[in-house]
């Protein structure tokens, strides 16, 4: 079990990061939502393996919660928004795709360097993976900063949240259930609010390109 568990956790954690980086590569908004669903599955797998390994019922419930919200409800909600304008592609991102992939590589390296002390605190197999969570956060942030369309930015925000969740699973076998519950509900709320906001934006301005909004400051 232990060997299989380690292998699964390695695979799933790497998958979370890989999906985040893939998000930087894809420009089709609907493809981004699909990637987000995939990331939710991988994250739930990490939580589930950690729960089985630690015989932790709370973590098991968390895994189910993650599966339902991050691989289910949220992608479905975002998918509905994405379907409103079919074929919506990200125009030119602020930084082009090859360049952002190179930056992502640098960010992963930074995460590994910055995460090393975390591993030194408690040298186990799973804390060695903690830099992956950090790297996911940074990749999500890069997505958030470089994309022009609001929906892509929401995806970036959710990738950041997934990265934080991954870090907590790997470092401390998850935070208490109540905290996780609160965090998840927060994400859900953000998605619902932003969905309403995007609907309004589309009705008012005919698009959801955030670059057109710079006149709104004071």
């Amino acid at each position: 079990m232990s060997g299989l568990g380690d292998g699964l956790i390695d695979l799933a954690a790497v998958a979370v990061l890989a999906v985040a980086v893939a998000g930087l590569w894809r420009r089709d908004v609907r493809a981004l939502v699909g990637l987000l669903r995939l990331q939710g599955w991988a994250l739930a797998l990490v939580a589930a393996v950690a729960a089985v390994r630690g015989r932790d019922v709370g973590l098991g419930v968390t895994a189910v919660l993650v599966l339902v919200v991050k691989a289910g409800v949220v992608p479905v909600l975002l998918g509905r928004v994405a379907r409103r304008d079919p074929g919506a592609r990200e125009g030119a991102p602020l930084i082009n795709v090859p360049a952002s992939l190179v930056i992502a590589a640098a960010l992963v390296a930074l995460a590994v360097v910055a995460g090393a002390p975390l591993h030194a605190l408690d040298p186990t197999a799973s804390t060695a993976l903690a830099p992956l969570g950090l790297a996911t956060v940074l990749a999500g942030y890069l997505l958030l900063v470089t994309r022009r369309r609001a929906l892509s930015q929401v995806v970036g925000l959710l990738v950041i949240d997934n990265g934080i969740a991954l870090t907590t699973f790997l470092l401390t076998s998850g935070v208490p259930l109540i905290v996780e519950l609160g965090g998840t509900l927060d994400v859900l709320l953000v998605v619902v609010v932003i969905r309403a906001l995007l609907g309004t934006m589309r009705a008012r301005f005919g698009g959801i390109d955030l670059d057109g909004l710079s006149e709104l400051r004071d």
Binding site: A114, L138, L210
Partner: protein
């Protein structure tokens, strides 16, 4: 101590009542509870001063972050007397005075909290409690200033006050943290026991705390908020701010700088003395030239607090010179001055509120002849103005007399440094008293005596029962302290000895006399009062026995009844000689506007003369500061160009920098 706790509990109850009671009963219920709270705290202070014990109590469960430490020692009791007196009078007044916004739930709650904070500050026993109460006091008074937020001048005053008071609180916090760092203690008693004050950290602590407290007491150049905030606040609040809150600034200097930082060098005290004397002169000069009633009072607060600061700083110098008994005399003088100032200044501010409501203006150039409209208020103002101008038998005279005697004692028996200090102090007190007298004569003569200068509605005088009671109480205390200062000084001497650590008995007093050990002089105010009464009686008798022709004219009208209102002195013209003498310091702006008749250039239709005295410190120091700050702010808008991506990138870059710095 039970009395104190009961008083503070009633203060809390006042806040709860203000929150919960229906709007009709709100002001009366909260006001009554607040008055009782202040009365109980005042009684606790009296009991403490009469007895000889210092009591402490710790309340653990009231605040979530730290226990409250209360400590009632002699100094705290002495200051608590001032605060309680002003709080009683202001709240009684408010019950009769509050209209409109001032009756709202927010305003009543804030006023209750403000009074409570004022009552807690002097009895705070450790740094946390002190800072908590201090900040509560600053914030509630700031919010009360905004009760009339529709007036632009009130909003501008709030901005100035907010910036200055928070800057001051930050300085005090840092200074107290430095003291904690030196002494490894947080209660004032154990801090003082460690005798800090040496080294760089001691100097830093002294400068920061002295600057913070002095700014609360309106010392130049940190005074700019005071002439704006005190006049703009609602009347009961301006009385509280001017009578009690500024006194707490001096209390801070006495408690922390004089009481805790014992080993600080003499030079720093000399610096503070100069600041105090300059503030006193500056405030007195501006009080003389102000024509706005409340602004005049605000500047005269700066002058009284400047004298107090000079007294405390003089005590610091003389203690460092090895004359703690003279230092104790000066501290007693300051404490008496604080009580006297609390009484007369609160009275004058409350009376200014009555005047403003009755006439609709605060401009002395448009007032006059109020004695007919507001006879009782005028009588109270006369008592207070006399006390402020240091006329004997007023409380203010006692305080200034002790201060002068203290400085005179320092003149005779110390090293050259002490002599110079005492000389500066003496000259400061003398010149300030003279100028203050001019300002007060102007206030009473131009504002209340003579003939009315403008038409005013005859209906509704505004002299209600509650407001009259508040003024009478303050006038009574003013005269009472002036006639019978002995017992008060006797108990205050203990507080002063505690503060400066003097062993000798210091000033002593009985019912009939007041003796200062340091100069072997004494004051017999009761005899003076008897003499004054006898003299007045003689004059009246002589008048009756002599001429039978009785001619009744108005006061302040040159003994004539045919003067028109425009022939009288105005506030501006009365101050003109002083303004000319001090023109180099005051730098007044004078506008003479001449407009001609249309038919002929030879005939002038209107000649308008306007002179205005702006705050020179504000013009030279604060205007460039504000402009630079403004320019910086405008420059900084380049950072915020409206692009969401740029804002997100700022966060991202910050995160990366943190990670790189950690990794």
């Amino acid at each position: 101590m039970t009395l104190l706790l009961a008083g503070l509990a009633l203060g809390l109850l006042a806040v709860v009542l203000a929150l919960a009671s229906p709007s009709r009963a709100r002001v009366v219920l909260a006001g009554t509870s607040g008055v009782l709270a202040a009365a109980l705290v005042g009684a606790a202070a009296v009991v403490d001063l009469a007895g000889r014990t210092t009591r402490t109590v710790t309340i653990t469960s009231l605040l979530p972050f730290a226990p409250l430490h209360l400590r009632l020692d002699a100094l705290a009791a002495a200051v608590e007397l001032v605060v309680a007196l002003v709080a009683i009078a202001a709240q009684v007044f408010a019950v009769g005075y509050a209209r409109g916004r001032l009756r709202s739930r927010t305003a009543t709650v804030l006023q209750g909290l403000f009074v409570l904070a004022l009552l807690v500050v002097p009895v705070a026993g450790d740094v946390t409690t002190f800072l908590f109460a201090w900040e509560l006091m600053a914030l509630t008074s700031l919010a009360l200033l905004l009760v009339d937020h529709e007036r632009p001048s009130a909003r501008a005053a709030a901005v100035w006050y907010g910036a200055m008071t928070q800057g001051g609180a930050a300085a005090i916090t840092l200074g107290l943290l430095a003291v904690v760092r030196i002494t490894h203690a947080t209660s004032f008693a154990s801090m003082a026991a460690a005798r800090p004050g040496t080294g760089v950290l001691g100097v830093v602590a002294f400068v920061l705390t002295a600057a913070g407290f002095a700014s609360k007491a309106g010392a130049v150049p940190l005074h700019v908020w005071l002439p704006r905030a005190h006049p703009e606040a609602p009347t009961p609040v301006s009385a509280l701010m001017s009578g009690a809150m500024t006194a707490l600034g001096l209390y801070g200097v006495a408690r922390v700088d004089l009481g805790v930082l014992v080993e600080i060098g003499r030079g720093w005290w000399i610096g503070l003395l100069v600041v105090g004397v300059l503030s006193a002169l500056f405030g007195a000069l501006h009080a003389v030239t102000s024509t706005d009633l409340k602004r005049l009072l605000a500047y005269s607060t700066i002058d009284a607090m400047g004298l107090g600061l000079a007294g405390l700083a003089g005590a610091g110098v003389l203690r460092a010179e090895g004359r703690p008994e003279i230092a104790a005399t000066l501290v007693v003088g300051v404490l008496v001055l604080l009580l006297a100032h609390g009484a007369f200044k609160a009275l004058l501010f409350l009376a200014a509120g009555v005047v403003e409501r009755a006439t609709g203006t605060r401009d002395l150039d448009r007032l006059g002849g109020l004695v007919g409209l507001l006879p009782r208020t005028t009588a109270a103002v006369a008592v207070a103005a006399g006390s402020a101008a240091s006329v004997p038998l007023g409380a203010g005279f006692v305080g200034e007399w002790i201060l002068v005697e203290g400085f005179v004692a320092g003149l005779g028996r110390t090293a050259p440094g002490g002599v110079a200090t005492a000389l500066v102090g003496l000259v400061g007190v003398a010149l300030t008293s003279g100028l203050t007298a001019v300002a007060m004569v102007k206030l009473l003569g131009v504002g209340f005596l003579g003939r009315a200068r403008a038409e005013r509605p005859a209906s509704g005088t505004g002299e209600g029962r509650a407001t009259g009671l508040a003024l009478a109480l303050l006038a009574l205390v003013t005269v009472g302290v002036g006639v019978l200062p002995g017992p008060l000084v006797a108990v205050l001497a203990r507080a002063a000895r505690d503060v400066v650590g003097s062993a000798s008995p210091g000033p002593a007093g009985s019912i009939t006399s007041l003796t200062l050990a340091s100069t072997a002089t004494s004051l017999r105010p009761l005899g003076l009062a008897a003499g004054a009464v006898a003299l007045v009686g003689l004059v009246v008798l002589a008048a009756r026995g002599g001429s039978r022709v009785v001619r009744a004219t108005r006061a302040w009208a040159c003994g004539r009844s045919d003067l028109s209102p425009r022939m009288q002195y105005t506030a501006t013209s009365f101050a003109e000689p002083v303004q000319r003498v001090f023109a180099d310091v005051l730098r007044p702006t004078v506008d003479v506007t001449v407009s001609h008749e249309e038919e002929s250039r030879e005939i002038e239709s209107v000649l308008a003369y306007r002179s205005r005295v702006d705050d020179a410190v504000e013009r030279a120091l604060y205007d460039p500061l504000v402009r630079a700050h403004d320019a910086l702010g405008r420059r900084a808008r380049i950072l915020a160009n409206g692009s969401v991506h740029r804002y997100l990138a700022y966060g991202f870059v910050a995160l990366l920098i943190v990670l790189v710095a950690l990794g």
